[in-house]
C-alpha cells in the first residue's frame, strides 16, 4: 500500500471494459447515492447478467476524522463525538468510550450508574434493531414493517429525551458514571414501554417470519460460515447467526450485565434468515434485561469520584463492549496529558462490512441489497 491510489480500486476496471463485449460483464456503481446502501456506501458491482461476479466497497464518503479530532480534545470534550459514529446506537458508543476512559483512570462507576447504563444501552439496542428491521424489510420490498418499527422506536426515543434531553445523539453518560439522575417516573415509563413493545415484536414477526416470500428471499442468502466470520473478525449478530455463542456481555461482562439473567440467541446456517431470527430473539432478550434492571435498580450515587481535570496516567487501554452491531472497541493511548495521544475505534460495522464480498459473490443483485441490509451497517461508523 505504498501508493495511496492503488488501494482505491483493485477491481481492474480497464480489464472489465475489455471483456465487456466478449463476456458480457457489466460494471455498475451502486451508490453512493442509492436508496438501499444505508447512507453513502458505494459498491462497485461486476455483473454477469444479474449474477454478481465480484464487488468492491468504496467507503469514506462520510469520513469526518473523528479519531484525529480526539487528539485535539480533552477526554471529556471528546465524549459527544462518539455519539456521531453509530448514530442509531449512540448510547452504546458513549458507554464504550466512558468505560474505556474509566478503565484507564482505574475508577469504577457506582452500581446505580451501571444499572442506568444497562437500561439505556439495552433500550438503545432495541431501537437499533428496530431501525435495522424496518430498513432491511424495506430493502427486500416489505414497506409496512418500517412504519411499525419507527412507531415503536419513537417510544424509546421519548424516554431518552426525557432522561437527557436528546433523542438521537444522546451523550447520556459521563466518564465516571452518569450526569443525570433518572427523572420522576422513569421506572414507570420503562415498565410501561416494556409491556407496550412485547406484543409489537410479535406483530413484526407475524408480518415476516413465516411470510413465504420473506423466507425465500432470506434463506440461503449471504451465507457465511463460522470459520469465515472468525477469520474476518465479524462480530455481533452476524457471528452468532453462524453458530458461535460469543457475546461480550457474557464473555467479559461490563456495566451491570453480570447481575442479569439472559440468553445468547444463536443460529446455525449463518444466512440472512438466521440473522433475522437472531436479532428478533435479541430484542426479546433486551426486554428481559431491562425488566430485571429496572426492578433491581439500587439507590446510591450515580457518579464516582472523578478528578476535575481528567489526566490519565501514561499507558494504553483496549476496552470493548457488545454494541447492537457487534464488538465496539476503543483503544486509547495516553501520554499523561489531558488529551489522548491516540484513539482508535474498532467499529463493528466497518469490520462486518469486509464480509460483504464473500457473502455476495455468486449471488444475484437483489441479494446484495439483502446482505447489505442484514449486515446492519451504519456508514457514520464505517467511515468515522
Amino acid at each position: 500500500m505504498t501508493d495511496p491510489n492503488s488501494s482505491v480500486s483493485h477491481l481492474d476496471l480497464e480489464e472489465s471494459k475489455k471483456t465487456f463485449l466478449d463476456a458480457n460483464e457489466l460494471v455498475i456503481n451502486m451508490g453512493p447515492q442509492h436508496p438501499a446502501t444505508h447512507g453513502v456506501l458505494r459498491v462497485i458491482l461486476r455483473l454477469d447478467g444479474e449474477k454478481v461476479m465480484g464487488l468492491e466497497c468504496v467507503i469514506g464518503y462520510l469520513h469526518r476524522g473523528v479519531e484525529k479530532i480526539a487528539e485535539n480534545r480533552t477526554y471529556t470534550m471528546f465524549n459527544p463525538y462518539v455519539d456521531r459514529m453509530d448514530y442509531v446506537a449512540a448510547v452504546s458508543n458513549g458507554l464504550g468510550y466512558c468505560e474505556a476512559v474509566e478503565k484507564l483512570l482505574n475508577i469504577e462507576a457506582p452500581p446505580r450508574a451501571n444499572y442506568i447504563r444497562a437500561i439505556l444501552t439495552e433500550l438503545n439496542r432495541l431501537a437499533s434493531h428496530q431501525l435495522w428491521l424496518g430498513t432491511h424489510a424495506l430493502d427486500i420490498g416489505a414497506m409496512t414493517p418500517l412504519f411499525y418499527t419507527f412507531r415503536d422506536r419513537e417510544e424509546i426515543l421519548k424516554i431518552f429525551e426525557k432522561y437527557c434531553g436528546a433523542r438521537l445523539t444522546t451523550h447520556a453518560f459521563r466518564i465516571g458514571g452518569c450526569q443525570y439522575e433518572t427523572y420522576e417516573g422513569f421506572e414507570k415509563d420503562v415498565k410501561k414501554f416494556l409491556t407496550f413493545v412485547a406484543p409489537k415484536i410479535d406483530e413484526y414477526e407475524e408480518l415476516l417470519t413465516t411470510n413465504r416470500i420473506w423466507v425465500e428471499r432470506t434463506k440461503n442468502v449471504g451465507t457465511i460460515s463460522a470459520k469465515d466470520c472468525i477469520a474476518l473478525g465479524v462480530t455481533g449478530p452476524v457471528l452468532r447467526a453462524s453458530g458461535v455463542k460469543w457475546d461480550l456481555r457474557k464473555a467479559q461482562p461490563y456495566a451491570a450485565y453480570k447481575q442479569f439473567d439472559f440468553e445468547i440467541p444463536t443460529g446455525q446456517n449463518g444466512d440472512t434468515y438466521d440473522r433475522y431470527l437472531v436479532r428478533m430473539a435479541e430484542m426479546r432478550q433486551s426486554l428481559r434485561i431491562v425488566q430485571q434492571a429496572v426492578e433491581a435498580i439500587p439507590e446510591g450515587p450515580i457518579m464516582a469520584k472523578v478528578p476535575k481535570v481528567i489526566k490519565p496516567p501514561v499507558g494504553e487501554i483496549y476496552h470493548s463492549i457488545e454494541a447492537p452491531k457487534g464488538e465496539l472497541g476503543y483503544f486509547i493511548v495516553s501520554d499523561g496529558s489531558t488529551q489522548p495521544y491516540r484513539i482508535r475505534v474498532r467499529p463493528p460495522s466497518f469490520v462486518n462490512l469486509q464480509a460483504l464480498e464473500l457473502m455476495c459473490r455468486g449471488q444475484l443483485v437483489a441479494d446484495v441489497i439483502a446482505v447489505i441490509g442484514t449486515l446492519d451497517i451504519v456508514l457514520g461508523e464505517v467511515d468515522r
Binding site: 444479474e50 424495506l138 416489505a142 411499525y148 415476516l208 416470500i213 428471499r217 443483485v365 437483489a366
Partner: protein, 430 residues
C-alpha cells in the same frame, strides 16, 4: 337534433356503437372511457396513498385540500410544470417515443372492455385475443425506455421487465383459454372470444366461471390473478422498478410529464387487466345472482345499490366534515369537504331516477368489481416483500405454467365428460 346524434339512442339498440356502426357515438364512448379511466387513475392514486398510509399507521396526504383530496391534482400540475429532461447520450427519438407506446397500448385495450352489454366502444369477435395482444405491446415500450436511456439501471430494469412479462403472459394465456373453453359448453357447442359473448355465456350457464367445475375455474382465476400482478409490474412482482435495487428501473431517467405518462400507463393497465379478470371469471357487468334473484322486487333492490354507495360516501364525507377541527384555519378545508359530500349526495340523488339507475346499473357493478381488484393491488403492496428475479421466473415457469396446462386439460376433459363416456361405451360394445 341531427340524426347522427339521436339515431343510436332512438332505436333502443342492443349493440355497442362500434357494432352499430356509428362513428359519432363511438367517439363519444372513446372520450368517456379515456376520461373515465384517467379520472379513475387520479382517484386510485389518492386512494392508494391513503389506504397504504392507513395500513402503515400514518395519515398519508393531508395538506392539499381536505384529507389531501387535491393532492393528485397538485402532483399532476407539478409534473407538467417540471423540466422535460432528455439525458445526454440517450437515443432521443426512442426515448421520447417509449412512454407514448406504453400509453397507446394500454388505452387501446379499453376498446373492447365491456362495461355493460351495450356500454363498450365496440365488441370484436376476437375481443380477448385483441386485449392480450395489444396489452403485451407495452413491453416494447418498456424495453425501448430502458434501452434508450443509455444507463445501466434502466437497462437491467427493462431486461427484467421483458423477461417477466413474456413469461407470465404464457401462464396468463393458458388461464384465459380455459375460460374461453367454458364458453363453448352450450347446446350448440360453439365458444366465443368476444368479451360481451363471454359474459353472456356466463349468464346462460347460470354461473360465474370462477365457480364453474369447482375448483378448476377457481384455479384458472388464481393463475390469472397472480399473472396479472406480474404483468402490470406491481408488488410483489415489481422487480423492473424495484426501488431498493434499481432506484426506479426502466423509468429512472424519465422526469416530469413523461414519467407521469408511465405512471398513468401502469395504473390504467392495472384497471384493464382487472377488467379482463372480471369479464372472464366474475360475470362482468352482471349483478350478483341475476338468475337466482330476479323479478321486479330484486331488480329494484339491486338497482338502488349505486345510489346507496354514493349516499354512503356522502355520509362518510359529512362525518369527516363534522370532525374537522373548529379552528378558523381549517374553515376553507371544512367547506371544501362539505362540498365534496354535497356532490356525492347529489350524484346519489340523480342515481335514484329510474331511467338513470337502469342505464348505469351494469357500469356500476363492473366498476365495483374493479374497485375490489384495485384494493387487492394496494393490499399486496402493503403486505408482501418483493420476489427475487430467479424466484419470480421459478413461480412463472415451474408453478403457474404446469398448473395452467393442467387446468386447461382438466377443463376440456370435464367439459366433454358425456361425450368421452359415450365414446368409451361404444368402444366397449364393439
Amino acid at each position: 337534433m341531427p340524426g347522427f346524434i339521436t339515431n343510436y339512442l332512438d332505436k333502443n339498440v342492443h349493440v355497442t356503437p362500434g357494432q352499430y356502426g356509428s362513428p359519432f357515438w363511438a367517439l363519444v364512448y372513446i372520450l368517456l372511457v379515456f376520461g373515465g379511466v384517467s379520472l379513475a387513475v387520479v382517484c386510485m392514486n389518492w386512494l392508494e396513498r391513503k389506504i397504504l398510509a392507513h395500513m402503515q399507521v400514518r395519515l398519508g396526504p393531508m395538506r392539499v385540500g381536505p384529507h389531501g383530496l387535491l393532492q393528485p391534482i397538485a402532483d399532476a400540475l407539478k409534473l407538467i410544470l417540471k423540466e422535460d429532461i432528455v439525458p445526454e447520450g440517450a437515443d432521443t427519438f426512442v426515448f421520447l417515443l417509449a412512454p407514448l407506446i406504453i400509453l397507446l397500448s394500454v388505452f387501446s385495450v379499453y376498446c373492447v372492455v365491456p362495461f355493460g352489454p351495450t356500454h363498450a366502444i365496440t365488441d370484436m369477435n376476437i375481443g380477448i385475443l385483441f386485449m392480450l395482444g395489444v396489452s403485451s405491446l407495452s413491453v416494447l415500450g418498456i424495453v425501448m425506455a430502458g434501452w434508450a436511456s443509455n444507463s445501466h439501471y434502466p437497462l437491467i430494469g427493462a431486461l427484467r421487465s421483458s423477461a417477466q412479462m413474456v413469461s407470465y403472459e404464457i401462464a396468463m394465456g393458458l388461464a384465459v383459454v380455459s375460460a374461453v373453453l367454458m364458453t363453448s359448453l352450450n347446446s350448440a357447442g360453439t365458444g366465443t372470444l368476444s368479451m360481451i359473448g363471454i359474459v353472456q355465456a356466463q349468464y346462460a350457464q347460470h354461473t360465474w366461471f370462477v365457480f364453474k367445475f369447482f375448483p378448476l375455474g377457481l384455479i384458472a382465476f388464481f393463475i390469472f390473478a397472480v399473472a396479472m400482478v406480474a404483468e402490470t409490474n406491481r408488488a410483489p412482482f415489481d422487480l423492473p422498478e424495484a426501488e431498493s435495487e434499481l432506484t426506479a428501473g426502466f423509468h429512472t431517467e424519465y422526469s416530469g410529464l413523461r414519467w407521469s405518462l408511465f405512471m398513468l400507463g401502469e395504473y390504467a393497465a392495472m384497471i384493464s387487466v382487472s377488467a379482463i379478470a372480471i369479464t372472464l371469471w366474475l360475470g362482468g357487468w352482471m349483478r350478483p345472482f341475476p338468475n337466482l334473484l330476479h323479478g321486479p322486487t330484486w331488480d329494484l333492490t339491486f338497482s338502488l345499490f349505486p345510489a346507496l354507495t354514493f349516499f354512503g360516501l356522502a355520509a362518510m364525507t359529512f362525518y369527516s366534515t363534522v370532525r374537522m377541527p373548529k379552528h378558523p384555519y381549517f374553515r376553507i378545508q371544512t367547506i371544501g369537504l362539505g362540498a365534496f359530500g354535497g356532490v356525492f349526495a347529489l350524484i346519489g340523488l340523480i342515481l335514484l331516477i329510474p331511467r338513470v339507475h337502469d342505464s348505469v346499473q351494469d357500469v356500476y357493478w363492473f366498476v365495483a368489481k374493479i374497485a375490489v381488484f384495485l384494493y387487492l393491488y394496494i393490499w399486496y403492496r402493503g403486505t408482501f416483500p418483493r420476489y427475487r428475479f430467479d424466484q419470480l421466473m421459478k413461480v412463472g415457469w415451474k408453478v403457474l405454467l404446469p398448473l395452467g396446462i393442467g387446468v386447461l386439460m382438466a377443463t376440456g376433459i370435464v367439459g366433454l365428460r358425456t361425450e368421452i363416456w359415450d365414446f368409451v361405451q361404444r368402444l366397449v360394445h364393439i
